[in-house]
């Protein structure tokens, strides 16, 4: 019986997108294979045949999320004319056509126990650091160290991880309705003084 060329009978890309939404909302352990089968419109056998395992699907969904949903936010940050604009933009994922829900979930939910997820998350956070550095320096190379070390503000690269953590933290606070605008304005004001 030759079945090799048989179409899978479902839209693989659409299944990966829907899985990203499910995992972002309820975490890895909160989604059973029953949930995947009923929400993705995929037969169990096809699910296993295509993705190998639930974890295989999760990794595909996370990579898709980073490439298609997180990347637009990073672009918006990189293209900001100054640090204050970059910070405001980083908090408004919707305006950038972005969504960082699964990344936020993965940082806490899977990264501590899954090295492959941790590697993806670390890469994404490094991209955030790089985008914020670029926004802080306006794309120009860091100034040459003329002034004595004590008088210089910390270089943008050194500051970026703290700002990335702040941005992710404010996104988390935003989930319980905490207004971030004032905090961002205050922080941006401090940054601009440097």
């Amino acid at each position: 019986m030759i079945r090799m060329g048989r179409p899978r009978g479902f839209d693989e890309a659409e299944a990966v997108r829907s899985a990203a939404t499910l995992f972002a909302r309820r975490g890895y352990d909160g989604i059973s294979v029953d949930d995947l089968v009923s929400h993705l419109g995929v037969h169990r056998n096809s699910l296993y045949k295509t993705f190998g395992s639930k974890r295989g699907l999760y990794l595909r969904a996370l990579r898709w999320h980073l490439e298609h949903q997180v990347a637009p936010l990073l672009d918006a940050i990189r293209q900001a004319p100054d640090a204050a604009t970059a910070l405001h933009r980083s908090l408004d994922a919707q305006a950038a056509g972005a969504d960082i829900g699964l990344l936020l979930m993965a940082v806490a939910d899977r990264a501590p126990s899954d090295p492959d997820v941790a590697a993806e998350v670390e890469r994404a956070l490094a991209d955030f650091d790089q985008a914020i550095t670029q926004a802080l320096t306006g794309g120009s190379p860091p100034p040459s160290p003329q002034a004595p070390a004590g008088d210089r503000p910390p270089p943008a690269e050194a500051l970026a991880p703290a700002l990335t953590a702040t941005v992710l933290g404010l996104h988390l606070r935003g989930r319980v309705g905490a207004p971030a605008a004032e905090a961002v304005a205050a922080l941006a004001g401090r940054l601009d003084r440097h």
């Binding site: 079945r3 059973s32 294979v33 089968v37 296993y48 190998g52 395992s53 639930k54």
Partner: protein, 119 residues
């Protein structure tokens, strides 16, 4: 119940006790490069099993042995659905193994981290 171990580059599945008899199989060895992944899946026992040949199917009690469904050969050894693990294979006699194991989470972690990363 089955005991699942990784020995070098091989996944070793051993059926325990009387399951050897019901499943008509006591041991399976699969090269890790043919293992695509493992998943905890209690719901799979409600899926159609296909045609049993050879093996034992006492609905609601025990599924053991070889089943044929959609042109695929699937090996079952499950009594307690809550401990069912699905191991997906490639280029093997069986398309997948559906096994009851003592600690599903540990077995899935073992396999998912021992298998070759997808190309």
């Amino acid at each position: 119940m089955a005991r699942v171990n990784v020995d070098g580059g091989t996944l070793v599945v051993e059926m325990e006790g009387l399951d050897k008899l019901w499943a008509l199989k006591s041991r399976l060895e699969i090269p890790l490069e043919n293992v695509r992944g493992a998943t905890i899946d209690p719901g799979i026992v409600r899926e159609p099993k296909g045609i049993r040949a050879p093996g034992t199917h006492l609905p609601g009690v025990l599924v053991a042995g070889t089943f044929h469904i959609n042109g695929q050969r699937v090996f079952w050894d499950v009594r307690d659905p809550n401990k069912a693990v699905v191991i997906e294979l490639a280029d093997e006699r069986y398309a997948r193994l559906i096994l009851q194991v003592d600690d599903p989470r540990a077995t899935v972690n073992l396999i998912e981290h021992a298998k070759q990363p997808p190309a």
